[in-house]
């Protein structure tokens, strides 16, 4: 049996919230980098992104 810290309900809930926030942040970052890359490429190729 390992000797560690047992999280309280409050600590466990806070950790889950932080994990969700990190997941959301990573997803948003990847989405933004992808969008920027696509738009930049479209500009280079002379494609109008709005139309």
């Amino acid at each position: 049996m390992s000797e560690g810290i047992r999280l309280t309900k409050e600590q466990e809930k806070a950790r889950n919230l932080r994990s969700w926030a990190i997941a959301f942040g990573l997803f948003a970052f990847v989405a933004i980098v992808f969008t920027v890359t696509v738009y930049r490429k479209m500009q280079e190729l002379g494609i109008d992104a709005v139309s």
Partner: protein
């Protein structure tokens, strides 16, 4: 209950995402977003809407990163002042080292994101702004000189220039005017606050102007900066950056700023150190002129930039009559 298998004990309440968001100074961030957006839209040329939104988001992240790093460094003095004691680190909702890591990480992400969405120049400018706010202002000036917010005010004045750089790839005279407006607005704004929160700053050992030079000298300097500011806000009318809406707004709000500054000058605001525990807008009778100027200064900056946003963001036709008039001169 989960067993996480390590021996590091929690000494403080477990941090929530909201605590990390508080590190970003959302109110300051909203001002940065607003002024950067105006800078971007007021600049000549056009910006791709999607890349523009992402660029503004990157600038906002950079501002948040600077706020987090500032809270990391200033945690000791934040704990002493009533206005800042509830921030996440002094309130023991976050470890200082977590704020440092968060701020550094966001700084990198924001600069890289702006480099991708706008240009290396704009990204370099954002990186310099974060450096200026954290190292030059927070670490260097804030605790050493009463000119702290005069020079440090540049950090808050850079965002419209960054927005301008996003749109044009560089900066010009009009971008410098936007910078100068915020730079000259900063001293009267913060010194008005410092006049009636003087004891708060004194307890924390921050050499704000009223603490070091006294209330009377501060009142005089506020009035001098108000004159310079009133002149500077009129400049966009002559360079063509501002049109008829801007001219009306700048004239009225500039006159109002001067009037309120004169009332501070002729008052006894700050003569009594006051109560450090009082609410931000709670004020003694003698300090009301300073409180009024502080409150109005926030509205002032908003309406000045909003006028430019109306003219440049919602159709050039708003400025057309005045542009014709300027062309006739």
């Amino acid at each position: 209950m989960a067993d996480i298998g390590n021996t590091q004990a929690y000494e403080i309440r477990p941090a929530l995402p909201a605590d990390f968001i508080a590190l970003l100074k959302p109110r300051v961030m909203s001002l940065v977003v607003f002024t950067a957006l105006v800078g971007m839209l007021a600049a000549p040329g056009s910006v791709d809407p999607v890349l523009g939104v992402i660029s503004i988001f990157a600038i906002a992240l950079g501002a948040g990163a600077a706020g987090a790093l500032n809270m990391w460094y200033d945690a000791d003095i934040d704990a002493k002042m009533s206005r800042t004691a509830k921030r996440p680190i002094p309130a023991k909702r976050l470890y200082a080292k977590d704020a440092l890591a968060f701020g550094m990480f966001l700084s990198l992400v924001s600069v890289m994101m702006l480099a991708a969405s706008a240009s290396y120049f704009a990204a370099g400018f954002l990186a310099f702004t974060i450096f200026f706010y954290v190292v030059i202002y927070s670490m260097g000036l804030k605790r050493r000189t009463p000119q702290n917010i005069v020079i440090g005010g540049a950090a808050g004045a850079f965002p419209p220039m960054i927005g301008w750089a996003v749109a044009t790839g560089g900066v010009d005279m009009n971008a410098f005017i936007l910078f100068a407006i915020i730079m000259l607005w900063t001293p009267p704004h913060f010194w008005a606050l410092a006049l009636y929160k003087r004891s708060d700053y004194a307890i924390a050992g921050i050499p704000m102007m009223p603490v070091v030079k006294g209330a009377k000298s501060t009142r005089v300097q506020i009035f001098i900066y108000a004159i310079l500011l009133a002149i500077t806000v009129s400049l966009p009318v002559f360079t063509g950056l501002g049109g008829v809406v801007y001219a009306i707004v700048a004239t009225i709000s500039g006159a109002m700023f001067l009037l309120l500054s004169y009332r501070v000058l002729s008052s006894r605001a700050g003569d009594d150190p006051g109560d450090a525990k009082a609410d931000l807008y709670a004020v003694k009778k003698g300090d009301k002129a300073a409180r009024n100027l502080f409150a109005f200064s926030i509205i002032f900056l908003f309406v000045i930039f909003a006028a430019l946003l109306v003219e440049h963001g919602f159709g050039g036709y708003v400025s057309l009559p005045f542009a014709v008039f300027q062309g006739a001169l």
